[in-house]
Amino acid sequence: MLTIKNLSAGYGGVDVIHNISMQIDGNLSIVGPNGCGKTTLLKAIANILPFKGSILVEGMHYTSMKRRDISMKIAMLSQMVGIYFTYSVFDTVMMGRYLHIKNRILSTPTSEDKTAVLQALKAVDLLDEKDKEITKLSGGQLQRVFLARTLVQEPRIILLDEPTNHLDLKCQIEIIEYLKKWAEEGNRAIVGVLHDINLALSLSDHLVVMNKGEIAVDGNADKIVKSGMLNQVYEMDVAQHMRESFERWS
């Protein structure tokens, strides 16, 4: 579904990630300590950061595709952004239909777009709030609005850049569980950068551990946790910490 070869990217001419290569055919969790380049990698995949190397989505090179073609296949759900001007929930989600609307001669939403928005709002349990201003929503509700906006893009792959930060546990699990179902039903994929190891492991069996701008290990999540590779990267006994947490609360 997504092939990455020798990818390097960074900011102001300084590479943050170096020579990353990986094959993504289903859900994937990316973990690693702060500053290891997880978000930079996602931004390069989302085509919002210039990169060296090559990325292919469903066999097509990014270089041969326009931004709109890539955005039809790949969407991104990020950490919460500052809101300068307020919109209704419905209008905000409708923005995700931008490329579908712009592909039409009149560039106006049709009943198909409205249905897609209402279905997405129903899926994230916000249908009753559709006319509410987004500035009046809680953090969890707002992130679900952005999730709905991502869904109505109808992408093949959704990139998650720590979208559940600042959300309560129930919200975090609901969003991840919903996305897993969405990916499974449509033969789609989720590529998630998540700080919470438990959440990352619940998203996918495929785990990539990054460290200092490179892939430290790429493989089966269970094997990686048992191998102790996470301990090296995080410089602590991750499995022991998780066991202790589990025992304390069970």
Binding site: M72, M76, F85, S88, M95, L127, K132
Partner: protein, 354 residues
């Protein structure tokens, strides 16, 4: 799930709802225009204004109590002045709305990027140095004002794109502010070196609609403003999306760098052409979009037309105050917009935050 608390003023998804307000706003704008034409050294009732316009446009006979002279005052003096104020206000207000959204900064305007500084420098070349175009001496000031204003934006955007290929907002704003200060310094230098013409320059910088060329100015300005606003309206979707930030816009599929170039130059054309004719008039571009967003919501399909109507109306009313409050002395309209606009803006902005 609890029942939604809906604040209807934000329901931009319901065209019928804001459609009614749109018609109401058009009515208010027409009323302000009639008021602007009617108030003066001789007050003229609205019906007489309409009869005078009908007489000049369609050769309809005037009733006995309206003299040819009075109809001529309406047609040749007051109507062009009020329409000039309306279209100038509309252009500045739409420019402000677009700049605030594109740069995600509630204090942004075309002036932030140096349009007014550039136009002032162009005007100072004409006023202080006596620069005159060979075939169009009367149009030298507007042409140079417009060219320098637009040129400044191109330079600012050029420098910003060299500094930052992604054209991030803070790069554009900082480049604009620094370059504006540089241009202002040159204008100040000309002020210091050439005392003659200082008063004319100061008055130009404060803006006015008196003696600005009548219908001839409107023949140039109105098409630019109308086409410019229609052109900008085509980007209503992109403007909505870009208020959430460039990364979000790009992942949704908006080519934000290209759109930013187009819209910033579009607004520079609107602002530059306006201040080239009427001088630098502040606050309309800052205040109007905020008031419009507060009343009608933030969706640009509503914000752009409403900003045009509100900005035009606000400018017409400011012009009425400028020429009546200290009559027979006429105040610079820029002073009036600032005096009304500053406290009004503070009220609107801070009451919204509350």
């Amino acid at each position: 799930m609890k029942t939604a608390i809906v604040k209807t003023s934000r329901q931009s998804t319901a065209p019928g709802y804001w459609g009614g307000k749109f018609v109401l706003m058009i009515g208010i704008s027409i009323a302000a225009i009639l008021l602007g034409i009617g108030i003066g050294s001789v007050n003229i009732p609205p019906l007489d204004i309409l009869r005078s316009i009908g007489h000049n446009m369609f050769n309809i006979n005037l009733p006995e109590h309206i003299t040819e002279n009075r109809a001529a005052i309406v047609w040749n003096v007051r109507l062009p002045r009020v329409l000039l104020a309306f279209f100038a206000g509309a252009a500045l207000s739409v420019s402000g709305a677009v700049m605030q959204s594109v740069l995600r900064n509630p204090l942004a305007s075309s002036y932030t990027l140096g349009v007014s500084s550039g136009a002032s420098l162009g005007a100072s070349f004409v006023i202080f140095l006596g620069v005159s175009l060979p075939f169009l001496p009367m149009m030298t000031l507007p042409i140079l004002g417009f060219s320098f204003g637009l040129g400044t934006i191109f330079i600012v955007m050029g420098i910003a794109s060299r500094l930052d290929g992604q054209m991030e907002n803070q790069t554009i704003i900082l480049t604009g502010i620094v370059f504006s200060l540089f241009i202002n310094a040159i204008t100040s230098l000309l002020f210091a070196m050439f005392r003659e013409g200082t008063q004319r320059m100061v008055l130009w910088q404060m803006g006015s609609f008196s003696m600005r060329g009548g219908w001839n100015t409107l023949y140039i300005l109105v098409p630019v403003v109308v086409i410019g606003i229609i052109f900008i309206s085509r980007y209503k979707w992109e403007l909505d999306i870009m208020t959430f930030g460039e990364d979000q816009a790009r992942t949704i599929g908006v080519n934000s760098t290209r759109v930013k170039w187009i819209l910033l130059i579009g607004t520079a054309v609107l602002t530059g052409s306006t201040i080239a004719f009427v001088g630098v008039i502040g606050f309309v571009d800052l205040v109007s979009p905020h008031v419009v967003r507060k009343i009608f919501g933030s969706a640009h399909k509503v914000v752009i037309p409403m900003s045009a109507l509100f900005g035009g109306t606000f400018m017409v009313l400011s012009d009425i105050v400028a020429r009546t409050v200290a009559a027979p002395i006429e105040l610079p309209v820029g002073v009036v917009t600032a005096l009304i606009g500053a406290p009004f803006f503070a009220y609107v902005y801070f009451s919204r935050r509350k």
